[in-house]
Amino acid sequence: MDLIGLTVKKASKLLHTGQISSLELTNLVLDRIDNLNPKLQAYLTVTPELAREYAQKADEELLQARKDSQHKTSPLLGVPLAVKDLLCLKDVRCTCGSRILENFVPPYTATAVNKILQAGMVPLGKTNTDEFAMGSSTENSAYENTLNPWDTNRVPGGSSGGSAAAVAADLAPVALGTDTGGSVRQPASFCGLTGIKPTYGRVSRYGLIAYGSSLDTVGVLAHTAEDVALLMECMAGPDPLDATSSDIPLPDLTLPENSDLSGLRVGVPQEYFISGIQPEVEKTVREAIRQLEELGAEIKTVNLPHTEYALPVYYLIAPAEASANLARYDGIRFGLSNDANELLERYYKSRGAGFGAEVKRRIMLGTYALSAGYYDAYYGQAQKVRTLIKSDFDQAFKDVDVIAAPIAPSTAFRFGEHSDDPLAMYLEDVFTLPANLAGVPGLAFPVGFDQQGLPVGMQLMGPHFREDLLLRTTHAYQMVTNWHKKHPTLN
């Protein structure tokens, strides 16, 4: 029995029937991490002792559950996972991919992480990320580059590149990520995974180190829609510690046994099929849409007329919010603190030394957009256009149930391809940004490969709080296709 490459669902079954123990499974994965992580650099911090501790506790509970049918356990009990290094796990260092938090050890655990730990999941470690989630390739990490397991000369995507590489290389069956501008969906696409950006407010942001507070979401990277559903059921819900978390209940995420999509109206937005997309990406995505039609869905054209403005809107709002959120890194209460004779100097030196180039760029962009004399023209205007982008979606969802679109203009690009041109890097996000601006959920899943064997992903977007529509549709697709079952061969 091949225990590497298990889905959460399969692992759960084996654990609950006693065919394997959580400790066995955890040790297997830890060995594989030992072996492959030095090259892939998916993990920044591995926590073997903590993992074994949780695994042993899980095994005790699994034993109890086998003896006593009244003892209820979560399907996640005993299953190991990786956590993006932007989410706090108490007493385990959290770097956010930055030098400024190189030695920061959080005194508390993020709510989303706490929920999966309470369910009995086993924390393997913290994964690499673009610094403070700012980037689309994980190249902006102050530490190492993470390699794409499908082609180690290429990026895994970002900012949740570490989590994506970990799951793709079977260094974890599932991982938590974050998505502020596409940072779960795009790496899922580049690494052949199924990844969700939930509705804004669906999962608590408490303990998620803030980048853009009106955009940040906690997401999941997995091999299947089924696995994503299991993690969502665990993590969703209001949290008194996050005033922006919603109490709108999670719809029933039970996935049907059949792949019949009759009655489902799928919208295809013209604005997402622009020139400049890699032809194979467009071809593969359109094929997947045809597959949905074969399963009974009705395909309709929709218009999202303000799509082209999502990029400038995002690159004003997100940096503006970031400039405020990152003001706390001042070398006084935590983080890098450089010697200085007076207070201001401490700020300048610590921040100057601790932040990388992309972070500085965005802080300055945001500071400028919010500064006196420019606020209305930049930030103010961006907020208004954001309203237009959101209402595009509200309008479209009157006619269709879900919207199908590409995730990225290309498959995984090579390292260094966009190093000299930040704007070119920003253009990687054109298809993912709108969902964050509108707050709608988005689900990425693999739909094929290009000529070079690189994964191609597609996304479904849905109305606010309708993660069920996305998961059911993707699950149906995954019942009749095998893309999500492919794993890269690693030497």
Partner: protein
């Protein structure tokens, strides 16, 4: 939208970032390009559009003003560069 060197220095000062001359020049040209791109938004007529500060329909999420358990000073001490008598020690604010 071409930013001047002085404007970039001013922004860096507001953001409390110490930058080298080389950084200032590099960011000057990169930020100018990005802001040029952002100028596309000016083409849109938003005179009757309200701004979106949050995508959620917010009710009031305020709670009663009752103290709850929170971080202890032992938690805060862990990451503090300089911590004495339950306080963060800072350099002089001004001479």
């Amino acid at each position: 939208m071409k930013l001047s060197k002085e404007e970039v220095e001013h922004i860096a000062k507001l953001a409390r970032l110490e930058l080298s001359d080389e950084e200032i020049e590099r960011y000057r040209s990169q930020l100018s390009d990005i802001l040029d791109y952002a100028d596309r938004l000016q083409a849109l007529d938003t005179s009757n559009i309200p701004p979106t500060a949050s995508v959620l329909k917010s009710g009031s999420n305020l709670r009663k003003d009752q103290s709850h358990s929170s971080l202890q000073s032992s938690d805060l001490k862990l990451n503090a560069p300089e911590f004495e008598e339950n306080q963060f020690r800072v350099p002089p604010v001004m001479e």
